[in-house]
């Protein structure tokens, strides 16, 4: 394990350098696309953290992604030109005005019954804060209930699945404040001081790339801590960990919440890059697709899952440029997926680990052993 660690970190370093150098070879259109795929990579990492390390297969990760996305999108919607030109000096989202009852005041406080909820989102940083707080709070509540009741395995998956679909329907039904099926579009740009993050410029790409690098490295450091190791013990045998005296639900809930925070963060970045938030983020297909990325990349490797997500999307984008192949490509994805589960259950990450084991660690392990033998023999000689 310890001898494999430097190689692991070297791979992280290579990955970070590669994504930092990407702007040198890409035009702004591709830069924007790749930024989106990096966000997907972050989602893959979040899945690997909860699935690979905590053994919690969350089929509703879209809930946290969507929560993060909507929170920031509400702020950016209020910052948009379309909200500032509604006949009031205070911002009002255009869709609220279109559906307002005749005679309703053109004010965010009272244009419809629930619009006051939007008031604090006039501050962009409130949106950013909520984009992290809401997913973490949701995950904390859900995790506490589910893990305290010792629900595990497929039941957690089904609960999270049902929950994301439930929230999706509620969001669609709350049309007056969420714009229903259409979601929030025509968003303004994210601003830090005077710097505006136009989705098609290099700084926005770096915002995403640096965020991803930080998330990957912190997640990797986190699973190496004592808590991370206990978590893996819980994953391997819950009862044994419990008998050893560890408070199992706290560890599970904590990592579930961290995974949710990463997903929420990814949701915010996605809104900055793609300029919309919609209920499709909480579709069943999207949540399962994230799991697919992680499975192909390697469920037990944070970097692997991240690369899996980026790889699949880059290839998809390239292939579907050719007309007619888009649909066929989907079939190929389905096939790849079946094959990966059958023949490569640990994904690309698992494959990489095996290769490293075979070619590097064994050699060096042999060398270390030889060294130890000589040192003990020299001690014996003394």
């Amino acid at each position: 394990m310890s001898s494999k660690r430097p190689i692991d970190w070297a791979l992280y370093a290579v990955f970070v350098v590669l994504i930092m150098l990407a702007p040198l070879v890409m035009d702004s259109f591709w830069l924007n696309r790749v930024a989106k795929y990096l966000v997907y990579g972050m989602l893959g990492a979040a899945i690997a953290l909860s699935w690979g390390y905590a053994g919690i297969l969350n089929l509703g990760q879209g809930l946290f992604f969507g929560a993060g996305a909507y929170m920031l999108a509400m702020s950016l919607k209020l910052a948009s030109q379309t909200s500032l030109q509604q006949g009031s000096d205070k911002p009002v989202p255009d869709f609220m005005l279109w559906n307002a009852e005749p005679g309703a005041p053109t004010e965010l406080c009272c244009i419809n019954k629930a619009s006051f909820l939007w008031l604090p989102f006039q501050s962009q940083w409130f949106g950013v804060a909520m984009g992290l707080v809401l997913p973490v709070a949701l995950a904390g509540i859900l995790g506490t209930i589910v893990f305290r009741k010792r629900i595990s395995g497929v039941f957690v998956s089904i609960i999270t699945l049902a929950l994301v679909l439930l929230v999706r329907l509620v969001v669609i039904d709350a049309q007056p404040i969420t714009n229903g099926f259409n979601g929030l579009t025509d968003l303004g740009w994210f601003k830090v001081g005077d710097l505006e993050f136009d989705p098609y410029v290099v700084p926005t790409y770096y915002l995403v790339a640096v965020s991803l690098s930080l998330v990957l490295v912190s997640a990797r450091l986190l699973v190496e801590t004592r808590a991370g190791i206990i978590l893996q013990a819980v994953r391997d045998d819950q009862n044994r960990a419990r008998y050893l005296g560890f408070d199992v639900p706290s560890y599970q809930t904590f990592f579930f919440a961290v995974s949710a925070a990463i997903a929420g963060f990814a949701g915010m970045l996605y809104v900055i890059v793609s300029e919309f938030a919609s209920p499709t983020f909480m579709d069943l297909t999207f949540s399962i697709t994230m799991v697919v990325w992680a499975a192909v990349g390697g469920r037990s490797s944070i970097l692997g899952a991240c690369i899996g997500a980026i790889l699949i999307n880059v290839i998809s984008a390239t292939v579907s440029e050719t007309e007619g192949f888009a649909e066929a490509w989907k079939a190929v994805i389905g096939l790849i997926f079946v094959l990966v589960v059958l023949y490569l259950p640990r994904g690309l990450g698992g494959l990489a680990h095996d290769l490293v084991d075979r070619f590097v660690v064994r050699k060096r392990g042999g060398g270390e052993r030889a060294l130890r033998v000589t040192s003990t023999s020299s001690q014996a000689a003394e």
Binding site: L57, I145, V146, K149, I151, G153, V154, F155, S157, I158, I159, L161, A162, L163, L165, L166, L169, V170, I172, D173, L284, T285, I288, V291, V292, A295, G324, E327, A328, K330, A331, I333, G334, L335, I336, F337, V338, V341, L342, P345
Partner: protein
């Protein structure tokens, strides 16, 4: 009020139609078959195609769809699912891949669309099935106008449930299936050919989904993605009812159908579905084993 309850009952029947097959495959084999919805879809397309090419109606399509989807299920079991027994979550992922493959096969007309060949009735578009006249319109009971097709769905569901009950509880194969549900290794030790029974069980479950598809085609538009939401509903019914309990699935489908019908009548369809999801979550959290759990040893 009778009308609302009737609609709830028919919604429950639809849920049960999809869930019956899942109750068997998931309960007996420990396979989460995400391609189950695609079996429903294939069943619906069998109805469309048999209408176009054989000029037959929905009644003929029922046995036809059963055979087609059962064979397809057998193939999937042989090629993929067989290698994944005991890896519950992996079956979920692999069958999700299969689901995409089947969807794309229908959408691309088995790849023929690349060569400019088009099969009428397949492809990415929407298809419709016309229902025979006997099943159109309404009939009146106790002053309430009830839809004939909904009544037909309820009837078919009752027949299929009884048939499934008979197979599981009154035949040799059913006894073997139940033995496998309780303990696969012990069943194998008693001389049951677990591999063969599993293959047949999977085929039976898929065939039931095919019949569900025929019934769906009568009142829903038929298109390649139609199965995805159904498989989720089916799973919720099975898990809420208790894995491996047929009676549990029947009850939970009935309860969820009525809740859906009542809430939809009071508010709207979207909220009704949201409430259904909420009820399922609450029940799984309170009783993770489901309403009618098998008492294991």
């Amino acid at each position: 009020m009778l009308e609302v309850l009737f609609i709830g009952l028919s919604l429950g029947s639809i849920l049960l139609l999809v869930a019956l097959g899942l109750a068997i495959t998931y309960g007996a084999m420990g396979v989460i078959n995400m391609a189950h919805g695609e079996m429903v879809m294939v069943g619906a397309y069998v109805t469309v195609l048999s209408g176009i090419y054989l000029h037959t109606n929905i009644f003929v399509a029922i046995p036809l769809a059963f055979i087609v989807t059962a064979l397809l299920g057998l193939l999937i079991e042989r090629v993929v699912v067989r290698r994944l027994y005991g890896r519950l979550l992996d079956t979920l992922l692999a069958t999700w891949g299969i689901a995409i493959l089947i969807q794309q096969a229908v959408r691309l007309e088995f790849g023929l669309s690349f060569f400019g060949i088009h099969i009428q009735g397949l492809g990415p578009g929407l298809q419709n099935v016309s229902v025979p006249e006997v099943l159109q319109g309404t009939f009146t009971i106790a002053g309430a106008d009830l839809n004939r097709y909904r009544a037909f769905i309820i009837l078919v569901t009752v027949i299929l449930s009884l048939l499934t009950w008979f197979i599981v509880y009154r035949t040799t194969m059913g006894t073997q299936v139940r033995a496998i549900i309780r303990n696969p290794k012990m069943a194998a030790a008693c001389g049951i050919d677990v591999t063969r029974v599993n293959a047949l069980t999977f085929a039976l479950g898929s065939g039931l989904a095919g019949v569900a598809g025929v019934m769906m085609s009568g009142f829903k538009t038929v298109f390649p993605d139609m199965g995805t939401p159904m498989v989720v509903d089916g799973f919720l019914v099975v898990v809420m009812g208790g894995v491996g309990s047929l009676l549990g699935s029947v009850f939970s489908a009935g309860i969820l159908g009525e809740i859906n019908g009542l809430v939809a009548a009071a508010t709207n369809d979207i909220l009704a579905r949201a409430v259904v999801f909420g009820v399922v979550i609450a029940i799984i959290v309170l009783k993770p084993k489901g309403l009618f759990a098998l008492k294991g040893r």
